[in-house]
Structures are given as structure tokens and as C-alpha cells.
Symmetry: C2
Subunit: 150 residues, 2 copies
């Protein structure tokens, strides 16, 4: 299961994607729009900034902005920053590789093959999905379009 923090992060990024190219966006604006506790959101955005996804501006007229186009922010990138490894175990992680302390021998581990398959299935979805996709997938706008067509 994805953490609440990660969901908050993705929702916040969606808002920033909507405002992409329109200048800095206030934390308070995002917090209110997505019902995220403001102080918690601060920490999340800071984390995303320190990892190169966002840029920030202090002082009056400041706020947060995407540092790259929505189509370049993949879910895997975001989830790695917020929740850590995407792989189901460290021993098959590409970005957080480490030995599993509960495994006597990595070469003979019976689970590795399955864990790798599982990891790849995840990556196949999460690498390809970007903020662009949740913009398009936003049901609110779909609904509006449907209503217009009706």
C-alpha cells in the first residue's frame, strides 16, 4: 500500500501540473484544494524540491513550481522520493539495492525470480505513468466534456 504522504504528493503535483507555466503556486492553495494538512504538505513539497522535481521561491509572490514538464514527472520518480523502494524487496531494487538480512544466500534465494517479475510489472506501469496522465484522467474535466457533448 502506498502511504498517505505519497498520495498527498501525487495530488499536490497534479495541481502544480495544472498550473504549469503559470508561475509559483502557494502551499496554502494546494493544501486547501486537495484537503492536505498544510504543515504536512510543506514537508512533502520540500522533499520534492530537494530531489529536483520542484523549485521554490521564497517571500511575497513566492510558491512552488514544477521544475520539468508534467510529462517528465513519472510516478516511479515521485514514489521513490516519498515512499522509497518500489521493488517488493531490497535485494531486487534498482535504486535502493541492499542485501536482505533475512536471506542466507542471495544466489539460492527461491523468491528472487518472482520478486523480480513483480518489480518489473510495477515499473512497467509506474515508469510510464506521468503527471500528464492524471491530468487527462481527471474525471472532473471528463464529466464536463461529456456534459458539453450531451
Amino acid at each position: 500500500m502506498i502511504s498517505k504522504k505519497a498520495k498527498y504528493a501525487l495530488k499536490a503535483l497534479k495541481v502544480l501540473a495544472e498550473e504549469y507555466g503559470k508561475g509559483p503556486v502557494l502551499i496554502s492553495y494546494i493544501a486547501e484544494k486537495e484537503k492536505i494538512p498544510k504543515k504536512f504538505l510543506e514537508a512533502i513539497l520540500l522533499d520534492l524540491r530537494n530531489n529536483g522535481v520542484l523549485q521554490s521561491q521564497k517571500g511575497k509572490g513566492g510558491g512552488y513550481m514544477l521544475r520539468m514538464a508534467p510529462a517528465d514527472v513519472s510516478f516511479s520518480k515521485v514514489l521513490r522520493i516519498i515512499d522509497g523502494p518500489i521493488a517488493p524487496a531490497l535485494c531486487v531494487s534498482m535504486f535502493f539495492y541492499g542485501r536482505c538480512d533475512d536471506c542466507k544466500d542471495e544466489e539460492t534465494c527461491s523468491l528472487r525470480t518472482v520478486l523480480e517479475k513483480w518489480r518489473d510489472a510495477n515499473l512497467n506501469v509506474l515508469d510510464k505513468t506521468t503527471l500528464m496522465d492524471i491530468l487527462r484522467a481527471d474525471n472532473t474535466s471528463e464529466k464536463i466534456i461529456t456534459e458539453l457533448e450531451a
Copy 2:
């Protein structure tokens, strides 16, 4: 990431799959073979028994046995018992469905579509993988075969 408990469970089940049809297996035997803390393993096996995967016999000559063929014990079944939902969020879970308290409106949630895709990618691997697969995938026997062929 999968919990240590879940890894223990899968490894223990692998042992039980190896001994399938040969009568009860001792907790101590499994614990030692897979280097799992015995008391912790007890709880895990009990949990699997209470959920219909294992059957147990008390007293002398007792132990644990698979209640079904290795090919019928899927990873998804095991992981649901030990770690809970496989889906990345409750709102897209098939076995543990629940509203996400951080979501104002399920219909307009921008993440749902992606979460569903992600869930399906997971299930596609985990439903199809069974204990039978980790028996075959066990590198120890592969190594032996390779050595024999060399």
C-alpha cells in the same frame, strides 16, 4: 515493500511444499532450515492455518501441512493473509475495499485510474505465481543440474 513476515511465510510455505504429501512438518524444522525466529514463525503458521492454507496436528508426530496442492497456493492468497491488501490503495482493493479518508470524492479522484492499472499489474503476477513456481525456481537444484551437465 513486502514485510519480513511475508517473506518468512513464503519461505516456510516453500518448505512445506517440498514436503507436500509426506506428513506433518515440525515448526522447528522449518525455523532452522530457513533461519526464521521460531516463535515468530509459530504466529505466521497459525495465521495461515486459520485462513485455510495449512492444517496442523498437535502432539507427538504432529506439525504443519499444506491443506492444498502447492500449485493452488498463489502468492496473492498468502500476501493477503500476511500483509493485507495487494492494491496500492483501499479504494481500488478487491478484497479489502474501503473509502480512502483522504479522498473527498471517489468519482473524481484523479489517481484511481492509475491505481487500478497498478493493482492489475500486481495481480497479474501474484495471482499466477504459486508455490509450485518457487519450487521449480529454486536455484539450488538448478545449480546441481548445471553441475551435472558440465
